[in-house]
């Protein structure tokens, strides 16, 4: 008995959390500074398990931080810098008020600044940690580098972002690590495999932004401040891994080539250098001159059983990867002025192609339109006047689709003025039960190498369509035959509108009803279903709930897939009808 009376909220979870306002007071910082500190140090609020306990019985909505986090912030040297800055601002304001211009100048010269190096090191103790977290940094820097140099943020930040992004693109080109690209309505997504980490970033289209008013640019600027520091260190390290010179220098050979022509156009050397780098057309200087392509063969280890299989799989994978990296090797591209130069040059260079563009478009073009060795010219207009006979004129989507397909797709679908096939996201990985667009199925077939049969058939079909309406029935029959041929692709065809109707033929069900064997099977099935039903009855309440939830989710996905399939079918029907009508009119 006896002992001190236990008081409420003096132990347990209530003491592990601290509200934001209390944290702010403890750190003696203004809200803006606290926000900045949290952003820089990567401190985020935590949701306590028992909110009411932590909130001392109140249920008011509050933001909680871990007390440990705040204690950790307490001895952060940057906090002192914040206070110094505050004092600086005060002094500066006073000097302005008194019109002491020399004082203002002196104060400005001694403006307190801070470095974030130690914070980066502290937040990311290893390089891989940092690399893992670079997605947002990349997207942010790419966005900031497209800002106009007026207003919204410091010009230095914009130029720095531009410099870092150019460095990054050069690295990706040099390391050939680009994996997937996707043109979305928001911008262009890229995914690269850098040192085993999948890194995805989004680059906006090159248009002027209309800056929204409800966005706090200070927050964005603080993030950018942190990201640029992180990004710079990462770039440095990445360049080091490839033995490249940092800050990047162009290859001496390439530099001499470029030098002669455009030197006089630029007032500043540094500016022109960045431009040259961003042209992405030349390779970078290396610290140690090595052979361009170093074959790093996997060492053969003596292994047995499963290991051999693994090894083989790994080897195969690597080979595939290498093949993909050499996707455009030996091809010579020319970019017309209306296509987005930077992204296309970046992608093409990543896969080993040679790229050039009109001289008036940008610095760094290495050859002219008239070059006879050009194999592909990328054009994004319905027609072009002067065409060369020995090159393909293709639309830019071909490049993106080819990269995603990891193979050079047939160029026919991407010729000038042709209605483009849909551009699919390479990031979607369909599980069974999900809806797979027919284009994707076609593509998968192509990748497996079954392209020709399918292609021809399709074309034939189309031809027949064009030729005669009456043969439609035959068409369908043909398709039935093909379906029977490869049952493997039953799924594929199911979603295709034409065959959907065929699938629901009673023929398959009949034998079950009539034949004795079928009856047995059916009985067995029914029995099993009942068994399952009874077993479900015996589930515990908790598990039952979970089970119901899962089943509901499954049902929803199938419903959605069905909906998409139905939509597709309807669309195809209408397009077919339109075609027919047109033909009828022609006749």
């Amino acid at each position: 008995m006896g002992g001190l009376q236990k008081k409420k909220y003096e132990r347990g979870s209530a003491t592990n959390y601290i509200t934001r306002n209390k944290a702010r007071k403890k750190l003696q910082l203004s809200l803006a500074d606290f926000r900045r500190l949290c952003i820089l140090k990567g401190i985020y609020p935590h949701e306590p398990k028992h909110k009411k306990k932590v909130n001392k019985g109140s249920t008011a909505p509050r933001t909680f931080y871990l007390l440990k986090d705040i204690r950790f912030l307490l001895h952060e040297p940057i906090v002192r810098k914040f206070r110094e800055y505050k004092v600086f601002v005060r002094k500066l304001r006073k000097a302005y008020g008194k019109a002491e211009w020399t004082g203002v100048e002196r104060l400005r010269d001694n403006k307190p600044g801070y470095k974030l190096d130690h914070i980066i090191k502290e937040r990311y103790p290893t390089f891989i940690d940092a690399l893992r977290d670079i997605d947002d940094a990349l997207s942010m820097c790419f966005l900031f580098s497209t800002f106009a140099r007026t207003g919204k943020c410091h010009v230095q930040t914009i130029t720095l972002c531009r410099r870092l992004t150019v460095e990054w693109m050069n690295y990706v080109v040099a390391s050939r690590s680009l994996q997937k690209v996707f043109i979305s309505i928001k911008g262009i997504y890229y995914q690269a495999d850098v040192l085993g980490q999948l890194i995805t970033w989004l680059v906006p289209y090159q248009f002027a932004h209309d800056h929204p008013t409800d966005v706090d640019y200070r927050v964005m600027a603080t993030f950018t401040e942190m990201y640029t520091t992180l990004f710079g260190f990462i770039n440095f390290r990445l360049y080091q891994t490839l033995n490249l010179v940092y800050p990047p220098k162009l290859d001496s050979k390439a530099e001499s080539e470029l030098k002669a022509e455009h030197e006089e156009d630029y007032a500043m050397d540094s500016e022109s250098y960045l431009e040259k780098l961003s042209a992405l057309s030349a390779s970078l200087a290396r610290v140690v001159a090595t052979a361009e392509e170093e074959e790093n063969q996997l060492d053969q280890f003596p292994a047995d059983g499963e290991d051999i299989e693994n090894m083989e799989a790994r080897e195969k994978e690597q080979k595939e990867q290498e093949d993909q990296n050499r996707l455009f090797e030996g091809l010579k591209f020319f970019l017309n002025r209306e296509v987005p130069r930077e992204s296309l040059a970046f992608i093409l260079r990543c896969f080993g192609a040679e790229v050039s563009w009109d001289k008036s478009l940008c610095i760094g073009g290495t050859y002219d339109v008239t070059d006879e060795t050009i194999t592909h010219q990328i054009v994004d207009r319905p027609d072009i006047d002067k065409q060369y006979i020995n090159r393909y004129y293709i639309q830019p989507q071909w490049v993106f689709d080819s990269v995603n397909a990891k193979m050079c797709l047939p160029v026919e679908d991407y010729f000038l003025g042709v209605t483009l096939p849909p551009h699919l996201s390479p990031f979607v990985e369909e599980k069974d039960g999900d809806y797979v667009p027919p284009e994707k199925l076609k593509l998968m077939a192509l990748q497996r190498g079954e392209k020709h049969v399918q292609e021809e058939e399709e074309e034939e079909d189309e031809d027949e369509d064009d030729d005669d309406d009456e043969e439609e029935d035959n068409d369908e029959e043909d398709e039935d035959l093909t379906e029977e041929k490869n049952l493997k692709k039953m799924e594929d065809q199911r979603s295709q509108g034409k065959t959907l109707a065929v699938k629901v033929t009673p023929g398959k069900v009949k034998p079950w009803e009539t034949g004795s064997v079928g009856n047995k099977v059916r009985l067995e099935q029914e029995e099993k279903a009942e068994e399952k039903r009874l077993a479900i009855m015996m589930m515990k309440k908790k598990e039952k709930y979970l089970y119901d939830k899962i089943m509901f989710g499954k049902k929803r996905t199938t419903r959605e897939a069905n909906k998409l399939a139905a939509k597709r079918k309807a669309h195809e029907d209408t397009s077919k009808a339109e075609k027919k009508q047109k033909k009828a009119k022609k006749k």
């Binding site: 720095l160 710079g232 770039n235 639309q395 015996m538 597709r568």
Partner: protein
Amino acid sequence: MRTVNLESQKTGTMSKAKEKSAKKRVVEEDDDQLPIFDKDVTEKKAGEEEDADLSDSEESVFSGLEDSGSDSHDEEEDAEEGDDEEEDDDEAVILDEILTKSSGVETATEPPATDKNKPTQPDEKPASRRKMKKGEGVAMDDGGEKGLITIRHGDEYEHDTSDEEDIRNTVGNIPMEWYQDYPHIGYNLDGKKIFKPIRNKDELDEFLDKMENPDYWRTVHDKTTASDIRLSDEQVDLVHRLQKGQFGDINFNEYEPSVDFFTNEVMIHPVTNRPQDKRSFIPSLIEKEKVSKLVHAIKMGWIKPRKPKETTPQYYDLWAKEDPNAILGRHKMHVPAPKMRLPGHEESYNPPPEYLLTEEERMAWEQQDAEDRKLPFLPQKHSCLRAVPAFSRFIHERFERCLDLYLCPRQRKMRVNVNPEDLIPKLPKPKDLQPFPTTMSLVYIGHTSLVRSISASPTGQWLVSGSDDCTVRFWEVNTGRCMKTLEVGGAVKSVVWNPNQAVCLVAVCFESTVLLLNPALGDRLVVSSTDQLITSYEPPEEDKEQAVTWALSEGPEHDNGHRLTLTHPKAVKQVVWHGKGDYLASVMPDNSSNLQVLIHQVSKRRTQNPFRKNKGLVQCVSFHPLRPYFFVATQRYVRVYNLIKQELTKKLMTNCKWISSMAIHPGGDNLICGSYDCRLAWFDLDLSTKPYKMLRHHKKALRGVAYHKHYPLFASGADDGSVIICHGMVYNDLLQNPLIVPVKVLKGHQITHDLGVLDVTFHPTQPWVFSSGADATIRLFT
């Protein structure tokens, strides 16, 4: 301006002092002084002749405003000359002239001052003047212009001090009463006593004076000299003016026009014409020293010019020395921000047509709140890359991401990644648990209303059913034939066949009656022995008062099979036989009394009420099959009583809202309870007072539950029209819990008036189950 003011003040005081002295002179009435007065008068006259303001001497002199003073000066000079002539003092005159001349010369720089000086002199009293003109004139000769100033000041302040006042009595400023008793009133300047006037004026003198003396009103008594002083006209005027609060001097103008001495005009000449110091042309030594020090410091490289600040950040290999120790607990605890969602097909600039929204979908999308939208953007199709516009919400989305990164609490959420099939418990296959009823094989049709209760005979050959159509029917189980139909006086609530094979009795309850019937089915011997058993009853000697009246049936009723009629005080809901077949319990649910359960002994025709207290509305009761226990189910609890010890042994919490039915396992250690809230609770009496298993198989209220006598089966019937057969294996090993597996859902009853199956019962020997329903049928499932 200041100086001017000061002077004017001074002049003010001075003038008063002079007037004072003038008064005294008047009082003295010296003959010598008379001319002064005369002169004053003349002066005044002269002044009045010309201009009142100008005539005044003293003020105008010092104020320095008087320009026309020269006129009066001339006159006065003349007068002076006249005076001088009178006194024959030539030298003084000459001196005076010299004085005026010299002053005129020497004060050329200050012409106004001399102008003023001149008129002042004549204003001085001639008496003093005469003295002065000699002494001061000399002083003047030496001192030059300064001397002149001093002279002037000397003149001015000569009579200004109180010391210089014309004092006759030297006693000072004391109350004169002190001298009342003395013949004198003080001492004159020579130290001689001043004697009082010989005769003091008495009242009469005073009065006479008042009456006769025309100047009485202007006569003042001077206490110090004890003399009367007649005030002059000027003095009277002065008094009047002071009384009115006016200035003492008539000629003083309060509202002088102000003269702007220091104009706002910029002067072309400096105020001071002092040449600059020499030091202002010579370089400073201290500065030189300082500069040389700085120069030296710069030469030595101690001071360097300020470097332009590095604006571009410097990057280096931050992770050159990756220290595994640097990975702290913090980093392990850190929850990395989830990556941005990767885009799907619908975000493509050229998506497959099925991903585009139809018109209705687009409308719906636009009407939804931004948070509710499944897609945060509208999928769009562009024919070529050239046509793709900028995404208007790009900055917004990035900003929202930033906000998420620093504002959102992060939490590791365990995603349940289970195969739903794994969640389904692994149960023994129903096939392995056979036999159990699987199919409906017979339907007993005959009742016209819902069949509330059924019961199978212990041999398993017959089935009795009671219905709301007030009939009890006896069926042959195997054929489904209705053997007998008995009309009773009300809707039958419960029918039970006596479990004793040696007795052929059926208890039927309707309204407030429990009827014991002998259906006369089956073995004749048994039937006759049953009748014999009932008739062999001998009433005891002492008749006890009982709650129930026992009546033996006779006549046609006896022919119908009625044997005993127990008339209860209240409506009976349920009857139950004890396993041996001698005891019978009836339930009369009533919330307000303790008479709810009665136990009857048929052989002795005795009835007793086992409970003294009302523990709630009794739903059903049951006997333990082997031991002397009695189960009473109230609305939410099942109480187990020991009939021999007559005490409560257990109270089972069913966790149900309302118990509807109850069945005891033939082993006696397990019990099932059906409830109106769709639950079936299995109790293991050895385990706990809480349910061992709660089964929620039925969708609607359970109405009947039953155990099979031999097979490990139990059945439950519910309002959803289904009968669920479960395998309920009870092991002899106390450590092993009962195994409960649902094996079959039997359907067949139609739901009428929201009621489905009302009662279920098992065949005593076969794995068959009977069920009676609200559709007036009884069904047999085999």
